[in-house]
């Protein structure tokens, strides 16, 4: 049963590691703005329409790649 001493030491170390991780994230300002990132992630940069020629050129390239 002495393994319990080892296991508890492991669990406490692991928990301390998470506490440390929380402190790091807090001090690096990750909790400062909790709202904007939730909006930002929904922006789709693809919405910006590329000029038609560019698009077809890219598509062709992709087709070529997939053919190979």
């Amino acid at each position: 049963m002495n393994i319990i001493f080892f296991l508890i030491a492991c669990s406490v170390t692991l928990a301390l590691f998470f506490l440390g991780a929380f402190f790091w994230s807090h001090n690096s300002g990750q909790n400062k703005d909790l709202y904007t990132p939730s909006v930002r992630i929904l922006f789709d940069d693809e919405l910006v329409e590329k000029p038609a020629e560019e698009k077809t050129a890219e598509e062709n390239e992709q087709k070529l790649k997939s053919n190979q």
């Binding site: 049963m1 319990i4 001493f5 508890i8 669990s11 406490v12 928990a15 301390l16 998470f18 506490l19 929380f22 402190f23 807090h26 909790n31 400062k32 703005d33 709202y35 904007t36 909006v39 930002r40 929904l42 922006f43 919405l47 910006v48 329409e49």
Partner: protein, 795 residues
Amino acid sequence: MAVITNEVCYHCGDDCVSKLLVKDEKNFCCNGCLNVYSILSAGNLHNYYKLNKHPGESQKKENQQFDYLNVPDIAAKLLSYKDAEKTIVTFYLPSIHCSSCIWLLEHLNTLDAGIIESRVDFLKKQVYLQFDHNHTTLQQVAQLLTSIGYEPLISLQDVVNESNSKNDGLIPKIAVAGFCFGNVMILSFPAYFGISATEKHFGEFFSVLNLLFCIPVVFYSGLDYFKRAYYSLKQGVLNIDFPLALGIAVLFLRSIGDYSFGVGEGFADTLTGLVFFLLIGKFVQQKTYHHLSFERDYRSFFPVAVDVMNENGETKPVALESIKEGDRISVKNQEIIPADAILLNGNALIDFSFVTGESKPVQKVLGEIIYAGGRQTAGSLELEVIKPVSQSYLTGLWNNESFQKSNDTKTKTFVTKVSHYFSIILLSLATLTFLFWLPTSWQIGLNAFTAILIIACPCALALSTPFTMGAALSILDKNKFYLKNTDVVEQLAAIDTIVFDKTGTVTLAENNSVEFIGNLSYTESNMVYSVCKNSSHPLSRKICSFLNSSENFMIEDFNELVGKGMYATYNGQEILIGSADFVFGANNKAITSPQVHVSINREYLGYFKINQKLRPQLGELMLSLNKNYHTYLISGDSNQDNNLLKQYFKSNLHLLYKQSPQDKLDFIAKQQRNDAKVLMIGDGLNDAGALQQSNTGIAVTDNINNFTPGSDAILDGKSFHLLPNILKFTKATVNIIHLSFCIAICYNIIGISFAIQGKLSPLIAAILMPVSTVTIILFTSISTHIQAKKHHLLP
């Protein structure tokens, strides 16, 4: 008369008055909106309009140029970082309001390649900008933001650099307490089920670990409770922190004692749980409104820099604090007069509504002294400063003793009152129990003594207020009523007298209703419109926006006589617009509201009546408030609107006019001497003293970014009609606190009955504490929401 088009502006969603502003088959309400659209479409940023419908803000007002940002001294104060390659600055942009704003502002580098990075903090309405100052300048960045409709608000008291470090310490403390609480609970479980004698060494090991976990909880997370208890003892007050600190200390010492003498497992689980829940309660109570500031003072009202003229007539921006006596300054239309000054040149029509409450602009003649704080409303002025900003009238008013004095008139909160008696009863009960057991056995006596202090530790009591208030605050917040702190709820519940300010509170400051008494044909109305368009007088502007014509006639011989009216001709027809003695054929009637008379070709046509527009639903509001409260109206204005307003108040004595800021303050103080609990509802600096003096001061504003000194709460004008419901709701909230206090006392009595007999085991304490806490949290949150629904504050 007015041409009604059903088109709305593609940019801001306002109604389009004329059909002239069209681009890419899209209508725009004004040139500003059209410009923004052109800039964005040229930069291929159409996405802005795809994310939301009409995402823009109306661009009808004039924009400033930000010349002063080129002055290194001024710019240096705004910058947060600068090196050889890049500059970092944070701007406060009040117009941020939707996801399109975020998208656009974070794509600024497509419009200006010099901008390296831009990030928006939506709730604080700030944009964090990194730019290469070799490619672009601070002024250009500010102008770019303005040109796309996001004018940065830069004021003397800079809102941006103010650090919001108030609650920074709390979250790490909660994290540590939560971490220790969780671990202690795991390690305590074996003891709850009993550890057999063969495994006793495990029990000891767990106890040591538990004690180790208690150390950071007591000396880091819980330290504030000891500090505050110490400060309150020093002032001779027993507040809620005293029994809490005592409980924490006794729990800790008892746990050490139990371990050292091998008599039990100790109370580590209760201790860590207690601190954790207390801190959570504090976190819930702390609500910060990033977009509001209750601490702003007169400095945020002033601009950062003024244009100073040198001998050659050239202007250059100078920081406001370096303005000195004798400087010649130039103040443009819609700018604030920053210091007391003599008028040298220009048509001065100054709006002092912010300082005195008088809504009509004041005409000043050359050589007259203009006090700081007024807003110029017609053309640019040339002024000579006679007093620097720090000694000006407005600054003096703000620094006036009565405006500054600390507020001891605010009522004591329920918890403060209760915890005083609570502490005394608790201590005497514990001592009596100790003395009772002393003859039998001092061990049992000590055991019972500490047990009472532990179990009676008012955790549930300390949590009832934060959780109720936290819930109430977020409900009020949804109704656009923002409180400075939670104590305001209790102060509001105790109110019995309500004093209203007039301008901007009962009446709408901007939006006056205009009606024409008489008959105007379509051509005539266009003629009047075309004449009024040439004048910058506020009444002319109101008439313009009322007539809202699309056709602009070419008028000739336009002539404006200050204080009288306007004269012009169109196709040989003579047009006179102005006051009764100026316009031909107008008879002088008793004037109750401003009137503008019109005659064309010596034929009197009628007059425009400009009414103060009352807030909608004022009647219902006053009807409901008059039942339970004494209501008064107090105004800096003359009694021109008395007929309109007196129906809403009990008698003529309840309406006071021509009151200076000091009079208002004195009136409130007089009411308070008669034991009235006064709620002052006002706006602007002219009410600041009264707001400060009152038991609770509410600032009503249509733009919550406005400057609202001295107020305890800010109410958005749109929610003004909800005031009776809000007051009833605060009363209900206080009742909920009383009820939850009763529940907490019941739990305490159960616990103490164990403790007095010296039978309190750590298990009972460990069960009772979280159960009472959870009961209180559930009870307060649920009943607050039920009350909010009852008073129509929640759907």
